[in-house]
């Protein structure tokens, strides 16, 4: 039971939540999106610079939330840089499968995101981990609607 907690709140997660990477406004942004979790009040704004070839050149976020959502956003921004839009979308699918435990038949390499896989033991917290991703996907697809977990 405590092992689950220790697997969820690994040092890497605590570190990213305390010192989120790519936190702040992105001057060069050409797309952005807002995400909220109305149940808990978590909110974040993600800005992205998508070049003419649909490659994510830079990405930053601001917002507030629990350790899981902030760490997830922080690690995500590190991973997204340099990815094509389609690669980002497919990475999200792999990540989502891993944290919801639906990846029984897939073993995609999700790299550093592996550190968040402990979330699968905490169904009520999956949305915390996926909110930044939903927001990022909305941004790069230039969706106007606010992203919500509900």
């Amino acid at each position: 039971m405590m092992d689950d907690l220790k697997a969820l709140y690994q040092e890497v997660i605590i570190d990213h939540s305390r010192n989120p990477r790519n936190f702040g406004a992105l001057e060069s942004a050409n797309c952005s999106a807002e995400g909220v979790n109305p149940l808990c009040g978590d909110e974040l704004t993600l800005q992205c610079w998508l070049d003419g070839n649909d490659v994510i050149q830079d990405v930053k976020f601001v917002g507030q939330g629990c350790a899981i959502s902030i760490a997830s956003a922080s690690i995500m921004t590190e991973m997204l840089k340099g990815l094509k839009k389609s690669e980002a979308e497919s990475l999200f699918e792999d990540f989502r499968a891993r944290v919801t435990g639906l990846d029984e038949f897939r073993s995609a390499d999700i790299g550093k995101l592996e550190v968040l896989s402990g979330v699968r033991e905490f169904p009520t917290r999956v949305k915390c981990a996926t909110l930044p991703w939903h927001t990022a996907i909305a941004a790069i697809n230039r969706s106007e609607e606010q992203v919500t977990t509900e």
């Binding site: 039971m1 405590m2 689950d4 907690l5 220790k6 969820l8 709140y9 605590i14 149940l39 808990c40 009040g41 978590d42 909110e43 507030q64 939330g65 629990c66 350790a67 899981i68 905490f122 009520t124 917290r125 915390c128």
Partner: protein, 421 residues
């Protein structure tokens, strides 16, 4: 498990004669094992657990009494009607109303408040009229007023609170004027535990010619309610927070107001005569109970009232006050615990944040140790805004809670501190 920082001091042992272990035995769910720990259920403000007396009443109702009410000529319909109307009498006594017709069964507080907004509000409100709503209201006592204000051209004004979580009475007095039609206030604030001085506030509203709608959802489990003494015009409460089943609550309204108000929903049960030329409506309370009511849970509601009377509402309040004093005393030992709601008069609720640990993470860590609390904005986003916090943690107490459970909460908080250290 981290080191035990708190031992229950002997001076905090319950001084009243409540046999908490005997009461706990009436709630089988309290023996549930959660993540390898015995459950410590401290989320009663969201919903309380149900005693055997209530669940057995439901079983007995379905096994021996059920049919539709007020319709059949047969024996079971008589039994169901008798059980349902007898529950109404019990509910009437529970809030000390003068007449049973003043009690309308609703799904819960939310429906009760919406009923008043829709029926009374739509009938009375004119463009420019004002509705006063306090800053500490649950969303269910804000949004129905915003909806009706939008449709009637009236205005919702906020009665502010101070940083202790108390309504600022001078501001309230200043806000009251001859345009004020409705004052909507909570008896006990769900996010802070503040007990508001309803009786005084009602008097002030009446002096200004306004009616008062009281949200008693959080008060009903802790306070002996007396609508005659309060002189409030409407009062709504939910059964599920006071040991009754979900999906049932009551709305009390003064008879002369209810009798003058237009129907809320149309359907069977609420009519006297229907024709395509027009329909006439039943007398109260049935005018406001369209369709087949939630008979079984109303009967369960009656059993929950009886459960509370058997223990004694004052005894329940005393026990919970002791728990609240104890939790505050424990919290005072930690500099990283910030408390929300320091009103002089408080009931049932301990809301807090822990520095360096977000409320959601705290909720998860506590849950894994079997301690159930609520985290989030508690459907009171204006309160969160007032204190400039996105989410708080809330422990809320019921008659079956113990000092040991509070100790376990603080042990679990210690573990969270270590984890996030």
């Amino acid at each position: 498990m981290s080191e035990v920082a708190l031992k229950t001091p002997t001076e905090t042992q319950s001084g009243n004669l409540l046999d908490v272990q005997e009461i706990r035995a009436q709630f089988p769910i309290l023996g549930e094992i959660v993540h390898e720990n015995t459950l410590a259920y401290l989320d009663n403000g969201a919903s309380s657990q149900k005693p055997i007396a209530v669940t057995e009443t439901l079983e007995r109702y379905y096994a021996t009494q059920h049919a539709n009410v007020h319709r059949g000529v047969h024996e079971l319909s008589d039994r169901a009607t008798e059980a349902y109307e007898s529950a109404r009498k019990t509910a009437c006594k529970f809030v000390n109303a003068n007449r049973t017709e003043e009690i309308i069964f609703v799904r819960g507080t939310t429906e009760g408040l919406n009923l008043v907004a829709e029926s009374y509000g739509r009938w009375k409100l004119q463009p420019g009229d004002e509705i006063l709503v306090s800053e500490m209201e649950h969303h269910s006592n804000i949004v129905p007023w915003q909806l009706i204000a939008e449709r009637t051209g009236s205005i919702v004004r906020m009665i502010p609170m101070n940083d202790n979580g108390e309504i600022i009475q001078e501001d309230y007095l200043n806000l009251l004027n001859d345009k004020t039609q409705i004052v909507a206030i909570t008896y006990v604030a769900n996010s802070l535990g503040t007990v508001n001085p309803i009786k005084e506030m009602v008097r002030m509203a009446h002096d200004a010619g306004a009616v008062v709608v009281v949200d008693a959802a959080q008060a009903a489990p802790h306070i002996s309610i007396d609508v005659v003494d309060l002189d409030c015009d409407f009062l709504a409460l939910s059964g599920h927070k006071m040991y009754a089943p979900t999906g049932i609550g009551i709305l009390y309204g003064k008879g002369e107001l209810l009798e003058a108000m237009p129907p809320y929903q149309g359907g069977g049960e609420m009519i006297r005569r229907v024709s395509f030329e027009g329909s006439t409506y039943a007398d109260i309370p049935h005018r406001f109970e369209a369709g087949t009511p939630n008979i079984a849970d109303a009967v369960g509601f009656g059993a929950a009232c009886q459960f509370m009377w058997d223990i004694g509402i004052d005894e329940i309040a005393t026990h919970e006050k002791e728990l609240l004093d104890y939790v505050h005393k424990c919290a005072d030992r930690y500099e990283d615990i910030r408390i929300y709601g320091n009103a002089k008069h408080k009931a049932g609720v301990f809301a807090f944040t822990l520095d360096k640990v977000h409320a959601h993470d705290l909720g998860t860590v506590l849950d894994r140790q079997g301690v159930a609390i609520r985290v989030g904005h508690h459907c009171a986003m204006p309160v969160m805004k007032h204190f400039n916090v996105a989410a708080t943690a809330r422990a809320s107490f019921a008659v079956y809670n113990t000092y040991d459970e509070i100790d376990r909460m603080f042990e679990a908080i210690n573990f969270a501190r270590e984890l996030f250290g």
